[in-house]
């Protein structure tokens, strides 16, 4: 009796602790958001979104930066998505056993731990110099794609693992080939979770500064890129640049740019959460 009372007490205590921890997380988030919004919202207007960078904080805008960020997003998605999903598929559905698979698995986990700056150095050597892409959007997107590839592969594998064996069996038993099964059953069924992983990976890519600076993404670009081979800048570089200026007005600009960046990642997460929920409502095993 005393024992079970103690257990109940512990249970309650943990519940309170759980609420407390969750609360801490949310409060910290709240502090960040409020802080940034208070500091940046005054600067955030139409002009700010449509102006080119400038030495005068009050005239500077983020047009090229957010357009560049969107470009990078789209290109990175186009490159990393098929590659990452394909690699995840290969590992989970095709080459699942043996030394080679173990090696690939460790290798990918390892890549996830390589600091982003190293990817920058790699991108500079391979894409910018060897492949002669220069400091272009394409070089940037390729570099970031490599950076987030491990995350996509890992999440894809987890998502595919969750598709029940019985669905695959059902498909094979009807004479479907491996690829038909993957394409018609496994991918649609795991699509929601794969997507979440991809979008979380992309929000990492959207926030990266260092590797892009290394490959030569620029700080001052007075034109919006019109092809993947154009030079570019992105929001994090603009933010990074502004936070290191002496004038307080630039810090305000940085905060406003952070809001813009957060809005983009919010939208991404929103899409992910929406698709995830829709998918989960549709499919109940």
């Amino acid at each position: 009796m005393t024992n079970s009372e103690r257990n109940r007490l512990k249970d309650k205590a943990f519940q309170v602790f759980g609420i407390f921890c969750t609360f801490i997380g949310l409060v910290v988030l709240g502090i960040f958001l409020i802080d940034i919004i208070i500091e940046g919202s005054r600067r955030l207007d139409w002009d700010f979104l449509t102006s080119l960078p400038s030495r005068r904080a009050s005239r500077a805008g983020i047009l090229t930066a957010w357009v560049g960020t969107l470009w990078i997003l789209v290109l990175t998605t186009l490159i990393a998505l098929p590659l990452g999903v394909a690699a995840g598929l290969y590992l989970e559905e095709y080459g699942r056993k043996g030394r080679w698979a173990n090696f690939l698995e460790i290798n990918i986990a390892n890549l996830a731990g390589v600091p982003s700056i190293i990817y920058g150095l790699l991108g500079l050597e391979i894409f910018v110099r060897q492949m002669r892409l220069g400091s272009s959007l394409l070089a940037g997107a390729l570099t970031l794609s490599l950076l987030i590839l491990p995350i996509i592969i890992v999440t894809t594998r987890e998502a595919i693992k969750a598709v029940p064996r019985s669905i695959r069996d059902g498909s094979y038993a009807l004479g479907a080939s491996k690829w038909q099964t993957v394409w018609n059953q496994v991918l649609p069924a795991s699509f929601g979770s794969i997507l979440t992983g991809i979008i979380l990976a992309l929000s990492r890519a959207v926030g990266e500064t260092a590797p892009l600076i290394v490959i030569g993404a620029l700080a001052y670009v007075p034109f919006t890129p019109s092809s993947p081979l154009d030079e570019f800048t992105v929001l994090p570089i603009q933010i990074f640049n502004w936070t290191s200026r002496p004038q307080a007005a630039f810090l305000e600009n940085a905060a406003a740019a952070i809001i813009a960046l957060l809005v983009i990642t919010f939208l991404l997460n929103g899409i992910a959460v929406y698709l995830r929920n829709r998918q989960q409502r549709k499919i109940k095993w």
Binding site: I167, A173, G175, A176, S177, Q185, P188, K282, I283
Partner: protein, 254 residues
């Protein structure tokens, strides 16, 4: 009764999961358009054996067979046999209903679609016919575009049968198709098997002696990877030759 052809045969079949010897020197011949029931205690190899007929075990790591499985006299474990073609010939229904998370219609025509058939009218025609055949048409004809996951367990199982029928196999393998179902659904599926045997060669695994007795023409009793006895169902249930069979089927349980 005219002598029927031999549809499926196993010759000296051995199967292994890694080191584990799951099937030991099985020899069996099954007639076409008849129902054969596999019975035996859990783990004796019924499912393993059943799945060698459409090579569903191919995907299991470390699984291998030796000996032969003949379908219409042709060894299906030959190198040049294409498993996808084989499985169009040998359909399968699983223990747990496993509809795809798609609409009822999409489920039924899946097998046709992957064969490249796209014409709407052909698909619709085939869907209706298979669903009728599986005694499900009346219940679902107004909601073909609804998710198959919204059906009851028994309906889902019949949908899986319809799905298997749609690609017109000649053999239908069923691994405990009614074990997850309530008696009403079970009855419907047993009736269905009874009807289907006019057109199909059916092999069914079951734990339920009564069921085996009701639906099958022949029964095979397996024990620890061996085929202990194989005979006409009636003979088997009334006068089994082997003591082990006797012990098993006269258990007081059902």
């Amino acid at each position: 009764m005219s002598k029927k052809n031999d549809k499926l045969e196993a010759l000296d079949l051995n199967a292994y999961y890694g080191d584990f010897h799951a099937l030991k020197g099985i020899n069996i011949v099954m007639e076409e358009k008849a129902v054969t029931a596999f019975i035996g205690p859990s783990g004796c190899g019924k499912s393993t054996f059943l799945r060698t007929f459409n090579r569903m075990n191919d995907y299991i790591d470390g699984f291998r067979v030796d000996g032969q499985i003949l379908l219409d006299g042709r060894d299906i474990y030959q190198k040049d046999v294409r498993v996808d073609e084989l499985r169009k010939e040998v359909g399968m229904v699983f223990q747990k209903p496993n509809p795809f998370p798609k609409s009822i219609f999409e489920n039924v025509v899946y097998g046709l679609k992957i064969q490249g058939i796209k014409k709407k009218s052909v698909l619709e025609e085939a869907a209706e016919q298979s669903l009728r055949h599986a005694a499900l048409w009346e219940e679902v004809k107004d909601k073909l575009d609804k998710s198959a996951l919204a059906l009851s367990g028994g309906q889902q199982q019949r949908l899986c049968i319809a799905r298997a029928l749609a690609i017109s196999p000649s053999v239908l393998l069923m691994d405990e198709p009614a074990s997850a179902l309530d008696p009403i659904s079970t009855a419907k599926i047993e009736e269905l098997i009874y009807d289907l045997k006019n057109d199909y060669t059916i092999v069914i695994v079951t734990h339920n002696m009564q069921q085996a007795g009701r639906v099958s023409d022949h029964t095979a009793f397996f024990y620890m990877g061996e085929l202990v006895e194989y005979n006409k169902t009636k003979t088997m249930f009334t006068s089994p030759k082997e003591e082990r069979t006797q012990n098993y089927i006269t258990g007081r349980f059902g």
